[in-house]
């Protein structure tokens, strides 16, 4: 599978979750694990460009696909991706644990709806749990990300 543009060898253990494979086999620990039953959204990554739960896919299933994790959005040293930048400007993260998943979901949301309505924003980020922010700043960040997106 290709992860952030880099080809990796096929995973060996079929029961290994993609989330564990990314984090512990490939060292991409920016993808977080919050519930392992698909509710919290912390582990959201892009599979062929669309956000999915990496705790609900086996690593072997990702073979032949393109995965993008939070580390793949903006290379080290490069400016933040517009969604990341918007989260920073709007104080849309506190502990940072849910943040990667939110950012990946919002990247997917803006790909689907480049100019989302308020309801599309709420529905686009519902599916990710945040226990710190109360979501208000995350909503503001999505609006800001629309402004910052090319």
């Amino acid at each position: 599978m290709k992860v952030n543009g880099v080809e990796h060898p096929e995973p060996v253990d079929p029961r290994r979750l993609l989330s564990d494979h990314l984090r512990h086999d490939l060292g991409l620990t920016g993808t977080h694990v919050g519930c392992e039953h698909g509710v919290c959204g912390c582990c959201t990554v892009l599979l062929d460009g669309a956000p999915v739960r990496s705790c609900l896919i086996f690593a072997v299933q990702a073979e032949g696909h393109d995965i993008t994790t939070i580390e793949g959005l903006a290379p080290d040293g490069a400016p933040l991706h517009p969604v990341q930048q918007a989260f920073h400007e709007c104080h849309a993260l506190q502990c940072g644990f849910c943040t990667s998943g939110f950012v990946m979901s919002v990247v997917g949301l803006l790909a689907q709806h480049p100019k989302p309505t308020a309801q599309e924003i709420d529905e686009g980020i519902a599916g990710n749990l945040c226990r710190c922010t109360g979501y208000a700043s995350i909503r503001r960040a999505v609006h800001r990300a629309v402004e910052l997106s090319p």
Binding site: H24, T31, V39, D76, L80, Q94, C98, R131, T133, A136
Partner: protein, 775 residues
């Protein structure tokens, strides 16, 4: 022109790495660590008749399996963290249960394996035989004491405490009007999105134990591990790395894993890691909030409270590791911002066969606020008085500070409010709330609250100017998202006249700062914030002193501005702060970074030894702040809600907060704390609950059934502030971490009652509960 950072909406300094996925949470640390899984009791109360780990030990990939019998500390009770004379029957659990389990989820065995997958496979092979015992669940059942949680605790009562100010019996008897209420608050769970985790490594050659722990108190963990393993504290390093939310339960120590993981690492000679999964988090991590109150209030025809008597039962859970702090807080905070001339409160802290309790954001206060506000609403209803008016008539007035409530506080003092302006909070909140929206089923709710924050004993900070002119600062208390790196940098930058981006803060790492207590009780800004201020001021004084010698000026004439120390009024007479850092450390060898200026043949400003009597090298200082008493934040929340008359779906139409936490360090961070707190309050009031059945089984131990709200359930929150600085600390700050959560239950209860006419005497609510109450 110097910038003042304190009070500015500085964007967070910690964001970049977190946003890039470069944060470092405990489970992110690998380094070939072995991984672990627990065997936990499926029974809420049972005698263990046998444990057989032989097949688990034989499984390929399994490195060790521990039961109590395998541990040198297997028969030691875990520490009772906060003893109290009234806690006559305090009980704590053991690391691994071997005789009796007292809650479902209590740890019985611990498996160490090459991977978590294998550890879970092996845990399934551990054979434990149980003989079930009668289960005591709910505080009411516990108080009836038909069965005991601990054989040697009569009546299931861990503690009992009675406090009284004035003469409640006489005042109640003399009151023109009286009312009784029974009010109930259920258990709740903090549910940070990162569950708990511990990683440990033992270096035999250095005899050094390094532990990464998602704790709110690394300094206490370090102290405890040093005692347990007989090591000097200097050989134990505990680091709380990035922590994915805490909200209270991560302050608790010791959870069994906090001893087992280091023990296994020392025994096995390899790094060992345990990462809690969501399922076990639901039962293995402390909970809170279960209380039942019986209130009797005496009042006059104007609605003025004359006497208040409250008897409550607090659900301790199976053990009391955290002492009786929670019911003490409830008792101390119950009168809140209102004058209660005669107040009597008696509580019993009772054992149940459920997960132990310790503070969760709000910690004893949401229930206290709920009880007082429901009581005022009941009086208002009885007198047909406006609910706002009754609050106005009972609020403590702005000229009454300091105000002594006369009952005990969690720091060993009594409850004394330092400052505040409660009527102003109420007025502003109502103004912001605006007119009631049109439509059926709309209700209004309001609550005013206080919060004792900034509890001691102390925190400390180390601040150092590097020869580069950059500043590093450290404190013992860790962050779980409260933006410590940003706000401490703001405090330090102001004192040192540097850019906030030139200050790098480390928190929660005993290698950088070994002293302190922890992040809890809305205390960070007060304790560590002021410690940072004290230490930075010491550094600034030293900088003036060192620079004065070289500039041939009076230290009092020097100012720290824009990264320089210079003479006030003639800025060309000065030097960069980094150069002062060089001069503050006389050296023999110039090792770069401009240090040639501090060698022995360079110009010396004065005769005598390079370091004067009592002087210390380096432009650095360590400072401490120990609060004389708690600071009392306050606020008012008000809301309009609509409850669908048929489906009982709740819609929050408007929610306003007016908040006072003294001087505000960073309004962006404060806004985030309040918005997040309110959301947690809404979750706790209408979505989340812990559904224990009569067998003590938690029936909703997953995020599918424990309904933490999504964005679609949380409205926008309107926020305003007033500032009544605390007179108790140099920065004038009060804590703000928990405030958002405290009154939400009370506000929504009031609003839903107003909207539906259904009397609300319990929390949390749900559409189902409203349906049941209405039929």
């Amino acid at each position: 022109m110097t910038t003042r950072w304190f009070g500015a909406p500085v964007q967070r300094l910690e964001d970049d790495r977190l946003l890039r996925g470069r944060g470092r949470y405990t489970d992110d640390i690998g380094e070939g660590a072995l991984e672990c899984a627990f065997v936990r009791s499926p029974y809420a109360h049972a005698r263990i008749t046998s444990i057989d780990v032989s097949s688990a030990r034989e499984m390929p990939g399994v490195v060790a399996v521990y039961t109590a019998a395998d541990l040198p500390f297997g028969d030691v009770d875990l520490p009772l963290l906060i003893p109290h004379p009234n806690l006559t029957h305090g009980r704590t659990q053991r690391c691994l249960a071997s005789e009796v389990v007292r809650y479902a989820g209590e740890a019985v065995a611990f498996v160490v394996a090459e991977s978590r997958y294998v550890a879970e496979d092996a845990a399934e092979l551990v054979q434990v035989e149980y003989e079930p015992l009668p289960v005591v669940i709910t505080p009411e059942v516990a108080a009836r004491a038909e069965h005991l949680v601990h054989d040697d605790v009569p009546g299931n009562v861990a503690a009992e405490m009675l406090q009284e100010t004035g003469d409640v019996g006489r005042a109640l008897a003399a009151a023109p009007l009286r009312k009784s209420l029974r009010l109930r608050y259920e258990r709740a769970a903090a549910s940070p999105l990162e569950a708990r985790g511990v990683w440990a490594r033992w270096s035999e050659t250095e005899r050094k134990l390094t532990v990464y722990d998602s704790t709110q108190s690394p300094t206490s963990i370090r102290g405890g591990l040093a005692v347990l393993f007989g090591l000097p504290e200097s050989n134990v390093e505990v680091i709380a790395p990035d922590v994915g939310g805490g909200f209270g339960p991560k302050i608790m120590l010791f959870y069994p894993d906090e001893l087992l993981v280091p023990h296994a690492a020392m025994q096995l000679g390899r790094p060992v890691k345990w990462t809690e999964d969501r399922q076990e988090h639901f039962t293995a991590v402390n909970q809170e909030r279960g209380q039942v109150h019986e209130v009797e209030v005496g009042f006059d025809a104007d609605g003025r409270v004359l006497a208040l008597s409250d008897e409550f039962i607090h659900d301790a859970g199976a053990y009391t590791p955290y002492g009786i702090i929670l019911p003490i807080i409830t008792a101390g905070q119950l009168p809140g911002p209102y004058r209660v001339p005669n107040y009597r409160v008696r509580f019993r802290d009772v054992y149940t066969n459920a997960t132990p309790t310790s503070p969760y954001r709000g910690a004893g206060r949401p229930h206290a606020c709920f009880v007082m506000e429901r009581t005022l609403d009941a009086i208002a209803a009885e007198l047909k008085l406006d609910r706002v008016e009754i609050r106005r008539r009972n609020l403590i007035q702005p000229d009454a500070f300091p105000y002594d409530v006369g009952v005990a506080w969690q720091d060993g003092n009594t409850v004394v409010y330092d400052s505040g302006n409660y009527p102003e909070l109420l007025d502003r909140a109502l103004e912001k709330l605006g007119p009631k929206p049109e439509g059926d089923g709309v209700g209004m709710g309001v609550a005013v609250y206080v919060e004792g924050t900034g509890v001691g004993p102390y925190e400390g900070a180390h601040v150092q100017v590097l020869v580069s002119g950059k500043v590093v600062a450290a404190t013992g208390i860790p962050s779980q998202g409260q933006a410590h790196r940003t706000v401490w940098a703001q405090v330090v930058a102001d004192e040192l006249g540097v850019d906030v981006h030139d200050v790098e803060v480390t928190s929660g790492d005993t290698r950088r700062f070994p002293w302190g207590v922890g992040t809890f009780a809305s205390r960070g800004a007060v304790t560590a914030g002021n410690a940072m201020h004290v230490a930075a001021r010491m550094v600034a004084d030293k900088a003036r002193h060192v620079a004065a010698e070289h500039l041939e000026a009076n230290p009092d004439d020097l100012e720290l501005v824009d990264g320089r120390v210079q003479v006030k009024g003639s800025p060309s007479r000065g030097m960069p702060l980094g150069a002062v850092a060089v001069l503050a450390n006389p050296v023999r060898y110039a090792f770069g970074g401009g240090t040639e200026a501090a060698t022995q043949f360079s110009a010396r400003p004065r005769p005598g030894p390079p370091l004067g009597d009592g002087e210390q090298p380096g432009l650095e200082a360590t400072g401490y702040y120990s609060p004389p008493a708690s600071t009392w934040a306050s606020g008012c929340h008000a809301a309009y809600v609509r409850v669908d008359p048929k489906t009982y779906r709740l819609e929050i139409l408007r929610y306003v907060v007016v908040h006072d936490c003294g001087r505000v360090i960073n309004p962006l961070v404060l806004q985030g704390q309040i918005e997040g707190g309110v959301a947690q309050g809404i979750g706790g009031a209408f979505y989340e609950r812990l559904a224990y059945d009569a067998d003590g089984q938690l029936r909703n131990a997953s995020f599918m059934e424990f309904l933490m709200p999504y964005a679609t359930e949380i409205p926008a929150i309107e926020i305003d502030h007033i500032e009544t600085p605390s007179p108790l600390n140099p920065l004038g700050v009060k804590g703000a971490g928990e405030a958002g959560t405290i009154p939400v239950g009370a506000v929504l209860a009031s609003a839903i009652e107003d909207a539906t006419g259904i009397p609300i005497t319990e929390m949390p609510l749900s559409p189902l509960r409203l349906f049941q109450l209405s039929t």
